[in-house]
């Protein structure tokens, strides 16, 4: 709060009412509901529910399929995060370096930010089309019989490629603005101290970009966990079958399609705990970062 504030009594309450009522109804109520449902077993025919304690969690921990999905989610998240960050960093460093056409490059490399994930998935369906997809043909010429939706690995590969394509622009924007905020004096000093360009990058630029990179790391993990839903749903054309899926996708499939509200809620709660842990970790790191700078 500002020191010089207004002293009105009812106005601030009035101002807060819309925000508070919306989050109470559509945030706290659903969150509490998820926690509660995770302790119950829903009757498949809609006749009430029975309290089962931790049974939903227990069966989750024993489920081989859940283990498989978790496994895939971890690998998928690591790959998507790594490649979207690395490629974006490469492009941002180059875009920051060139003098001619810098603005044009920025536009050409960032517009994909505005493409919806399912539309990106739809483009993926064209590129990886079984019969004539340009990428399928390209892989075919290399001797790789690419088979979207029929082959587990190939589908996973397509999911990673499309998700990375969609995420590179966001990272690019942040890295570029991070690079541009490095003071000129620092660059000039580095220029005198260090003769090789790659040496300058790793010794000066990279550490200065670390805070941006760390922030982006969290953003990318969240993206890979949640926002890739549209990409995955489109690439498997709404029918997951034996294809790879992420944890969020499984919450949707089990709860919305399979009507297993209890099991799905338990999965939701696990995800909530995961995201909370991630955020707490982020806050602690941010605090540390402030001490150093």
């Amino acid at each position: 709060m500002k020191r010089a504030g207004f002293a009105s009594r009812w106005l601030p309450i009035l101002l807060l009412v819309p925000q508070l009522s919306i989050i109470l109804v559509f945030f706290y109520w659903p969150a509490a509901y998820a926690v509660k449902s995770s302790f119950y077993l829903q009757d498949p025919f809609g006749f009430g529910q029975t309290f089962v304690g931790l049974e939903n969690y227990a069966s989750l921990s024993k489920s081989a399929e859940y283990f498989k999905v978790t496994n895939f989610t971890v690998i998928f998240t690591v790959l998507v995060t790594f490649f979207s960050l690395a490629l974006a960093l490469l492009l941002a460093v180059k875009a920051d370096k060139v003098i001619r056409g810098a603005r044009t490059y920025r536009t050409l490399l960032m517009w994909v930010y505005a493409v919806a994930p399912p539309v990106a998935g739809f483009m993926g369906l064209l590129l990886f089309n079984q019969r004539w997809g340009p990428l399928t043909e390209f892989f075919g010429s290399l001797g790789w019989d690419f088979n979207l939706r029929a082959d587990y690995f190939d589908t996973a590969f397509a999911m990673v490629v499309v998700s990375v394509w969609k995420q590179v622009p966001v990272n690019f924007i942040f890295f570029l603005s991070g690079l541009q905020s490095i003071p000129k004096s620092v660059r000039e000093a580095a220029l005198i101290d260090n003769r090789s360009a790659s040496g300058r990058f790793w010794d000066v630029t990279f550490p200065l970009l670390a805070p941006t990179g760390f922030f982006l790391l969290i953003i990318n993990i969240t993206y890979a966990l949640f926002d890739t839903f549209g990409v995955i749903d489109t690439l498997v054309q709404g029918e997951p079958g034996n294809n790879p899926m992420t944890l969020v996708y499984k919450v949707y499939v089990d709860g919305f399609r399979g009507n297993d509200l209890g099991g799905s809620s338990a999965q939701s709660v696990v995800l909530m705990v995961l995201v909370l842990a991630l955020t707490v970790f982020q806050f602690r790191m941010v605090e540390k970062r402030i001490h150093y700078t």
Partner: protein, 298 residues
Amino acid sequence: MADISLSAATPVVPRRRFRWSTVVDHAILITGALIMFLPLLILVQTASTPDVETMKYGPGLYFGDQLDDNFRKALFEASGFSGENTGLAMFKNSMILGLGFAFGKIIIGMMAAYAIVYFRLRFATFAFWLIFTTLLLPLEVRILPSYEITQKLGLLNSYTGLIVPLIASATATFFFRQFFRSVPEELVEAARIDGAGPVKFFIDILVPLSQTMIAAMFIIMFVYGWNQYLWPTMVTTEEGMYTLVRGIKQIVQVLQGGNEIPEYGRANVLAIIAVLPPVAIVIFFQSWFVKGLTESDK
């Protein structure tokens, strides 16, 4: 010393000599730009060719002449069973979702941020935590209970049910709180000395001051709202309520099944219409958008 002039980090060097490293830099950037652009090009190319050709040969090298015909089909002919989900109707729904979400989020967020920053409130800390905890959990982790509650409230297949649950997070509030805190305190004091009340101060001073921030937030929120997929997929089951992005799900399923020739042209045009407005906004208002995006994390 020759090394110093080698670097592009010192753009003041008067003579620009030909260097291989510069060529490599441009080559990397052009490759990147092409990879970003090619999928869209393929989308437009297949949208302009007759469906039979696309079905047989896939994307070709030349543009066909079917683009306007496919545009007409996509905009005015329905693809579902009810005859209500024409491209135009979906475009309208997408607009309502994008604009409603952006306006709702900004207005509610500004009001709450104003209350938190500028007023002495007894339960201010509590309200603050209540609001900012929502930043921690995205809608996706509580998607099913949110659906159940929306259903209980009778809001399925309504714009309220589509928009309001998406607003239930404090990103805009947080953003405006940060901005309001950076506004010099002397302004409030001056306003109070001049006899301006809290409402007058908000409307006449704070809102005009925040113009750039509002514009930046608006672009980000519009794109976010327009591109929503999972939530609209769940709450809209009537075809007349479909947004363009939600319609993609239906398009994909239509392409998949049946022995007839899949309507690639029409499907691709719908995908193009789904992409165009947010992309145009992001490109035209690039500087605001980049500023808003990169400053929202601080």
